[in-house]
Symmetry: D2
Subunit: 289 residues, 4 copies
């Protein structure tokens, strides 16, 4: 069990109309395979805020009342130790619905951006006859990689897996939603993962997904732009609706954003491509009984 | 605080293909304003099953492995005491997003059948200038009642609030989804309610919704086919995806269904119509600190 | 150039509310490769009606004012000679958009049920690198056959190609819409074909599509339930919206329908499957200069 | 019958990939109420092009093969005399479907961006009980004006009337599509109108719609940004798919666009607002027998 230290940071500037409440989701999650060694989050101007911990990934939100402020800058930086589990895919058997823990059931259901109900025939046709669950999810990510083109600016916050499977274009968020929808359609629980990604070009927040197999949440990146063992988790949820970088109740617009993630370890061996056929990665240490 | 006793029952017959797992959601929930005095659930033929308790309404699911069975009959009956809270609407102030408990936050987010994000402008235009939160939700139910026609068989399990708001037709499930989507768009947490309804014609399972105002989950029925104080809760969830009567992993089709709900109390005064402008009803006793 | 004679007939019963106008599209089209030798159409009760000829396939509509009638029975029978052209696929080159006759341009544009604009990437990925136009359309029909399941009752009049490509299920109408949308996305004009089909099981009206290649409208049936040289054309249009069996302005519901198509020729050699890779069929004799 | 002279012009610059075919729709239409007194269209670099006349509004398209060109500039200017008909709304009775000329029937059917079939209940609920056809369409434009916000950049080329009716935001194209869909749902033929608009701020191509009442195509602008009697028609079609400013077969992107429309007449009295309740305007002189 190797651990890697990362330095992550972001800075986001917003224009806001008075009296908004903003819910930020930028802190690295703490525990279950990831330790926040130090962190600092500042809001300028100084505003009343509180940290809320909730959700399946121990997501930590900063809730801020903006009052009269017309602009807001959020800065976050942290040193985080990640301890990804390297797993043997052969041990990652499918957990049949009859044996799933109740905590996983919500991740089998369709959600706003992952209409697994409408993708069921498609998923079974393409991937239904693959015996092994890990292989099934790998094939899903291969299919997404082969069929969906990554093009910035082609999709919006209304785009869902139902669109992406046909329109064949999108960004990391869309790739993740499609992966999730296809897994759920095959009765594999799947959830949305947001995080900081080492070596991501251009630097940005990243989204990928976790599938629940072998009683583990195993991490997959259908964009192949990041390595599952070189990610720092921010949060997990049913889909992007649960773990947006910023959910605004009121009106605010992001006018600038910088995101950084550097490994503090020279020796980080990022696993990609074929290496992931031999080694599966989970960044959630929690197991179900 | 009045209580009413109900006798509820259902019988559902399914044709099934071998090796399905079925997740039934028909048991009356127990606790927080409702007490199951006695109950009996049988599956014929006898099959391995277990009760799972999960979700925000203390939903109790029966998970059944069907093995070789080609058909299955589920029978349930229970005697349930419901203790609805009668509340003064004047005390039911909106809980602003900045003060919501983290447990309510998921019910502000868009979900599979309640795309509140895409209904935001519509909701604010129609209901945005209503001061009082209880009145706002009442007006939403009035609008649905005035604009959506209740016609059996017009919608499918793929129909969502985004469709119903335009197609103006549906059943209780669709009415509830639209109510939820509009509430969430206005930053009022809302969740899907399923239950047994006294005096429902024709008898069936019923769906309506709860909105979180005044730190209470207040019950609303936009179909006006049932009274909020004459319902027995089965479950609560983000939308119908979470609390289907039956979620099948595999293939099964319902071929017959009977549902009954009778009040064991002669004096049940069902509140409907204008009475609900004076008295709000909650069937969830839990309050947030 | 062989000709075949068919006897076609239909009987349709409707319940109607007073004062509807109904536009029937059941007559075999006359001319351009098909000759109506005799025909008889009756409406009971006797109502004012007129025949309208319009549209790209010489569609003939019967427009009927129903007045006070509460029910209506339409009966049609005809003897029709069809003279399908058997063409050598090698001569059917793609007509590039720069050389298309203006009359074909509308059949390149997206329509209600054929959102070719949203299927463009998908179409180019799957079929973009196939050189030969006839082969390209054959591959489209193969793909539909392999990926879409024919199941009666799974779709509605709102279902479009954008749904079918993902939901992978439908009836002849849905198969045709998907074929059309994919052709148009590849800049091959395509139109919806409705007709009577010899040997169709169960007997019904049939839908398939024509693609414009080699300056001919070549007929394709992605359901493979009928043979392109054993069809009697009723009409052609942009999609099903243009050539419904019955378009009602008012309220009417079909309560019974019988459709028949028999070949009056013993020797009809229906072309199907691999035979269509050697021989293309057009039932529209008109050519552009 | 007054006539007004306008000077219209546009310049559009494109980046293109080799071997595209572009179909431009920028020429003022000629005839039936509008006379092109002089015009000049140039393409730089000089490329093979031809003028195609087609469609219900006498649309004139310039079809251009781009060959090896990597960029293209289209310049058009024209002097156009428009002779709008001023009509008395009282004479504009609804033409019932039973009396419509076949040429109008396609404009009753749903199209890519105008899903009148899915808006039928909505349309009848809101506008079904208005007796007078002209008033009905005015009320539709009022409703759109009151409920849909004009915000540039909020919609894409995939946005349709089905979206706009719920999302309540869009540009002239979206306003027109919604107007058309609602008219067709009420069995009033409606078509998409594109043109140059006098005094439009900011200057741009404009879209509105024509409804067929009183045997005339009467012009309506639900954005209220232009006056029906101060427009120069470019074309008419089922919806924007038929009459895009530029349809590209291949890949091209517009990088700059200037549009101008000036009245050469000092005395132009643009009719807007309440004046249109007294006077209807048609810019298509053709009448059906």
């Amino acid at each position: 069990m190797h651990s890697t230290k990362f330095h992550v940071s972001c800075r986001i500037d917003y224009d806001i109309r008075p009296s908004a409440t903003m819910l930020f989701n930028v802190r690295a999650s703490n525990g279950r395979g990831q330790n926040v060694l130090s962190e600092k989050l500042t809001i300028s101007p100084e505003l009343r805020s509180e940290v809320i911990e909730t959700g399946p990934g121990g997501n930590r939100f900063d809730r801020v009342k903006t009052g009269d402020a017309k602009s807001l800058t959020l800065r976050y930086e942290a040193e985080v130790e990640s301890v990804p589990l390297l797993l043997n895919p052969e041990h990652l058997r499918k957990v049949p619905p009859a044996q799933l823990d109740p905590a996983q059931l919500p991740f089998l259901m369709p959600s706003r951006y992952c209409q697994s109900d409408r993708l069921a025939r498609f998923a079974w046709q393409k991937f239904g006859n693959i015996e092994d669950a890990y292989d099934q999810v790998l094939k899903i990510t291969d299919w997404i990689q082969d069929n969906v083109e990554y093009v910035s600016g082609t999709t919006t916050s209304a785009t869902s897996a139902y669109d992406t499977v046909t329109e064949c274009v999108g960004v990391c968020r869309d790739f993740a939603h499609l992966g999730i929808a296809l897994c759920r359609a095959l009765t594999i629980p799947a959830r949305y993962f947001t995080g900081y990604a080492w070596n991501l070009q251009p630097p940005d927040f990243h989204a990928c997904f976790e599938a629940y197999i072998g009683n583990r949440w195993v991490l997959f990146d259908p964009t192949r732009l990041a390595s599952p063992n070189a990610l720092v988790r921010i949060g997990a949820g049913r889909d992007a609706a649960d773990v947006s970088v910023c959910t605004t109740f009121g009106i605010a617009s992001c006018i600038r954003q910088d995101v950084q993630c550097t490994a503090l370890d020279d020796k980080l061996m990022a696993l990609t491509g074929d290496a992931l056929r031999q080694t599966a990665i989970s960044v959630d240490h929690e197991t179900m009984p």
